[in-house]
Symmetry: C2
Subunit: 115 residues, 2 copies
Amino acid sequence: MSLHPTIPASKVEGTAVYNLDGDKLGSIDDLVIDKRTGHVRYAALEFGGFLGIGTDRYPLPWHLLRYDTTKDGYVVNLDRDLLTDAPRYARGTEPPQTDDYGRTVFGHYGFDWQS
Amino acid sequence: MSLHPTIPASKVEGTAVYNLDGDKLGSIDDLVIDKRTGHVRYAALEFGGFLGIGTDRYPLPWHLLRYDTTKDGYVVNLDRDLLTDAPRYARGTEPPQTDDYGRTVFGHYGFDWQS
């Protein structure tokens, strides 16, 4: 077993995302990385209409996502209430690639942007 | 100034890569990330025929690449000798996404895969 399996970023796009009950919520639309460190900061999720959420992209702090080898996808513990007023942007648009925006996204989910 | 400027992984593809003299070597074809930690492990470079290297992809440990905001691209200190027998794979193919392959790539450039 490979302890550090890798995957091309181009293939992460489209990887399924599940909730804790194993329901498929949607998939990853893109990864957003720190230009210098190369760490993925957040993943942009598209929910495919789940919960009537439509096609907006929801940036989620990377550490919310746990990779599950048995599912070959990511699992996330997402409460619907958290999504109601969560940061989002329309498909085809791009949010600011700044610390301010990162802080907004991380803050919403209770994470520290610099950590 | 943003201390942690971000960029969508989908946009890193195509970002220019320069040598220390400022010559453009080629561009990034893809990023390869650790599925679990979300850290970019290496970048696949295509040299666009530079040095007669053709269209093979050269995986380079991420830490060899330094992001240069003035160039809006990455700078790498690459000795031609290091490239002669460097790990590479043909365009359109994919190397094994395993620790073994990572070790081979990192080892070639003097890096420790687990570090």
